[in-house]
């Protein structure tokens, strides 16, 4: 037995030496463990092709998803969530080629929504972006390992991120269904009607929003966190994700704000002076970044303050986190891609399935 244990440790070292890892030890992908993950992915067959992962173009099958779920330390019932997240990042709208290769520190965040969050133990409460939960830690890691091993997204080779961010190891949260109140789950707002869904969004690390008071106080603080000359959305448009902690969400629901009200308020209040951008020699000739109404308003008024989110719909809204006066904003990459994409979780994980 101890010989086998040593062989497992040697296998872990070999995976690190061959750069088949993210820099942390992996779980050796044995036939037995892969078979268990594949069983959770049925009726999908092992040789079913999921897609080509850029920039290297690795052709990923359902078996490769199972292997990487094992490598990351997933329980078998997490594998369908990993598969759904991979399908989502491979949608053209996400532009995974760019997300992988850009100098910006963008990483795909996975937001898991629906009853599956409770069923498989995805943390959607206290310390939601932090440590301590196997599902969050390993589902996000499995997607990253696929981006590395299949996509070739290694630093300098296929990933030119100047500074990156810690979410590039793992970046997965559960949507806090109780805190959603009357708001629809995030994946429903993106056109996926299934009860269980994942949303992927290419974004920066979460930036904390501390606020006490009513809905407007909370949202005004949030708007100020978004109104920065340092953010990609300021320069490149695109989307942002705002995540309301349970306490902030309750305060907003008490006053009856709809998701649309939140989007409109943040769009209206998160502004920066356009002149601060043009001072640096910024070009205004790309309509995807600078809609006609922005450049026209800037030309009329030298003091014009431009909305960071060019459209209210660019604000994605979800709930996650526990009690406390905190929420978070996560700026996206820009008009180039990383746009939020939702996919149903298929097959629906069943933690009670005998195996």
């Amino acid at each position: 037995m101890s010989d086998t244990f040593d062989a497992c440790l040697d296998a872990i070292e070999a995976f690190l030496a061959k750069e088949w890892s993210d820099g942390l030890p992996v779980v050796p992908p044995t036939e037995k463990r892969i078979a268990a993950a594949l069983e959770a992915l049925a009726p999908h067959l092992p040789d079913e092709v999921v897609g080509m992962v850029p920039p290297r173009g690795g052709r990923v099958t359902v078996r490769d998803v199972a292997v990487h779920a094992v490598l990351a330390g997933c329980r078998p019932e997490y594998a369908p969530v990993v598969l759904a997240a991979l399908r989502a990042v491979l949608r053209p709208r996400f532009n995974l080629l760019g997300v992988q290769a850009t100098t910006h520190g963008v990483a795909p965040l996975i937001v898991v929504g629906g009853p599956v969050v409770e069923q498989i133990g995805v943390n959607s409460g206290t310390n939601v972006f932090g440590e301590g939960f196997r599902a969050n830690a390993t589902i996000g890691r499995a997607l990253r390992l696929l981006l590395l091993n299949a996509g070739g997204g290694r630093p300098e080779a296929g990933d030119k991120a100047t500074i990156g961010h810690p979410g590039k190891y793992t970046f997965c949260i559960g949507e806090n269904a109780a805190a959603l109140g009357t708001w629809a789950p995030l994946h429903h707002t993106l056109g996926v009607e299934a009860a269980n869904g994942v949303t992927v969004f290419g974004c920066e690390a979460p930036h904390s929003v501390l606020a006490h008071g009513g809905a407007a106080d909370i949202l005004e603080a949030m708007a100020s966190a978004l109104a920065t000359l340092a953010g990609n959305p300021t320069w490149y448009a695109g989307q942002v994700l705002v995540v309301f902690g349970a306490e902030h969400a309750a305060a907003i629901h008490r006053e009856g704000w709809s998701r649309r009200d939140v989007q409109m308020f943040l769009h209206e209040r998160a502004r920066v002076p356009l002149a601060a951008l043009t001072r640096s020699g910024e070009r205004l000739d790309n309509p995807a970044r600078w809609p006609r109404w922005v450049t026209a308003a800037g030309a009329m008024d030298p003091g014009y303050r431009m909305p960071v989110m060019r459209e209210p719909d660019d604000v994605l809204v979800t709930t996650a986190g526990g009690q406390g006066a905190f929420s978070a904003v996560l700026p996206g990459w820009g008009y180039m891609g990383g746009f939020a994409v939702a996919e149903p979780i298929d097959p629906a994980p069943d933690a009670g399935k005998p195996r």
């Binding site: 296998a11 892969i34 690795g58 990923v60 292997v67 091993n149």
Partner: protein, 95 residues
């Protein structure tokens, strides 16, 4: 000695056959196309290069296109136009 059989996690990429375009033997008098990716200063860098090539080698600057996105491959119709109208193309970056 114990043995653990593990799966090789590397994923093979599909082989796509391709060949490189023929290189011009001289820059003298050729048509230069410019593909601007839209980044800050990309347009100025390309314009300076085109001017220097014209002064030094007598090149002509032909098609100048701006990519719709800085982070995506140029769309096929832009590539086709550049191929049709240029002997060499310079693709610019900024930042």
């Amino acid at each position: 000695m114990g043995v653990v059989k593990v799966w090789d996690p590397t994923v093979r990429a599909a082989e796509i056959p391709h060949e490189l375009a023929a290189r011009p033997t001289s820059l003298r008098g050729i048509r230069v196309g410019l593909l601007d990716n839209g980044k800050t200063n990309s347009d100025r860098l390309l314009a300076d290069l085109a001017r220097w090539l014209a002064d030094t080698y007598g090149t002509t600057t032909g098609t100048v296109l701006v990519k719709p996105s800085i982070s995506s491959v140029a769309p096929p119709e832009q590539i086709a136009e550049l191929v049709r109208t240029s002997d060499v193309v310079i693709a610019g970056v900024g930042d």
